[in-house]
């Protein structure tokens, strides 16, 4: 079912990780991704893995749910592994036909694989534990210092909020249209590529019309409430840095310090 895509989805919860300030979580995720590229040996990856495992354990998001999010990117991971495995030059371990696997290639492939998996899981922990609205509020807050140099922080955040809000609506709409056309005997599964592409027209046309209708209704509703981005806007739920955010910040700095020390010393 089209609704059951988990990548980028929010998993409702009440854990310590859920309650952390979105700004802190966004920064932490970005720094975690940087850390994954600083690391250059297995000990470093082990530390990064451990840190992520602890965060997931605290967040109480089921592992099954997190791993489901990996499925759609599985092909990309396999492809990256293959490229690294066969393309890197060095001491040859195995050789057959035009392929050869080198020691360096093996190491590189393993590193890239681990890096990608940790990167995807790490960023999905952010979206799994943060409401979309918190995410966009956080991004807006982090971008607002750049307003002075002309970055339209509020408008960007508003666009993201609207996009995130309407993804489920459009998925639902797509699902409904597909079913309605199937009820009229439409067949999307058989035939060659050309036939299958043509079979999409009865879905795409109504979907575009629906999208425009939804956009128009929303614009009208916003205008009716005198929405404008120019004035200084206040929020119903202002983000406040709490004690737990201080703890989170300290843990983040400690993690980064360990990663850097490990890189420099070992």
């Amino acid at each position: 079912m089209i609704r059951d895509i988990t990548l980028g989805q929010y998993y409702p919860g009440n854990s310590w990780v859920h309650k952390l300030d979105p700004r802190l979580k966004i920064i932490a995720t970005l720094l975690y991704i940087v850390a994954l590229f600083v690391v250059h040996d297995f000990i470093g990856f082990a530390i990064a893995f451990l840190a992520l495992a602890v965060v997931i354990a605290i967040s109480r998001v089921p592992l099954k749910f997190i791993l489901k999010g990996l499925k759609p990117v599985f092909i990309i991971i396999v492809f990256t592994l293959m490229v690294n495995l066969f393309m890197v030059k060095g001491d040859i371990l195995v050789q057959f036909w035009i392929f050869h696997i080198t020691r360096q290639g093996l190491r590189m492939a393993a590193f890239m694989g681990i890096r990608l998996v940790l990167l995807i899981i790490g960023s999905s922990v952010l979206t799994l534990t943060t409401r979309p609205i918190g995410l966009t509020d956080g991004i807006e807050a982090l971008l607002s210092p750049f307003k002075k140099i002309g970055v339209p922080a509020h408008e960007l955040a508003m666009m993201m909020t609207i996009a995130l809000r309407f993804i489920p609506t459009l998925l639902e709409e797509t699902d409904k249209i597909i079913k309605a056309q199937q009820a009229r005997g439409a067949d999307f599964e058989s035939g060659n590529i050309l036939r299958r592409a043509k079979a999409l027209i009865p879905i795409l046309v109504p979907l575009f019309i629906s999208a425009f209708r939804i956009a128009q209704d929303l614009a009208m509703a916003m205008e009716a409430r005198c929405y404008g981005s120019g004035i200084k806007r206040t929020r119903m739920n202002a983000m406040k840095f709490a004690k737990r955010d201080l703890v989170g910040g300290i843990l983040l700095v400690a993690f980064l310090a360990i990663i850097v020390l490990e890189r420099v010393l070992i």
Partner: protein, 282 residues
Amino acid sequence: MSIEVRNLTHVYSEGMPHESLALDDISFRVEDGEFVGIIGHTGSGKSTLLQHLNGLLKPKSGSIIIDGTDITSPGVSMREIRCKVGLVFQYPEYQLFEETVAKDVAFGPSNLGLSQEEIDARVEEAIRLVGLDYERLKDVSPFELSGGQKRRVAIAGVIAMKPQALILDEPTAGLNPKAHADILDMVNTIHRTESNIILFVSHNMNDIARMSDRILVMDHGRLAMNGTPEEVFTREEELKQMGLALPDAMELTMRLRRKGMNIEQNCLEISALADAIAQLRG
């Protein structure tokens, strides 16, 4: 043609945190030529139930027997089932996509692999059956029509497949009173000419009481009642608990009885109630 549903259970998003039991052990049977009304509060599972009847949704457990074939067993041709059971979704006008009315109505029949003459004949017949002027509208874009007309074109698109059972999910939702009455007339006409099974979902109890041979009442995924309009609408207390109203005439009958008027019949229509009162007055 008959439809039989046995112990049907459906769960949305099984294994996910937002898993929900939408249908809970539903069983009923619809005989050939019956007009069955379906009522229930929003979210009670009406649409989910209907989508099982032509194989768009697969049940978690239970079986659906259409014309003697269990459509949940493997290897059943879905095309054949969708040809027998026509489903008109809520707001069907949102599925229109072709340049002209005639082409849009032809989408269903051409998916059935019929000859061009047969398709053309069916398109013309279906457009006339839904009460539209074929000659004037066939080459018009469906997007230029009024809301009520669009809906009739969409319904024609399903009727043109000549289903032996026609299922309509809230076909009058969001229409003005005139378009509402037109759609009801249209459904009655189709039922008379095609003498097919009709399953009709509506929140308008007057329509349901007047048109149905039998009524199914859904509540929280369960089939709460299954009986004639009179049987169903005399269970006032239970219906109110499910958030459902009575037809106007029945509501008035009940109130007059409570006021001490001795009305014996259960009047489902205002004219019947008027007669009953006139009789009392002698």
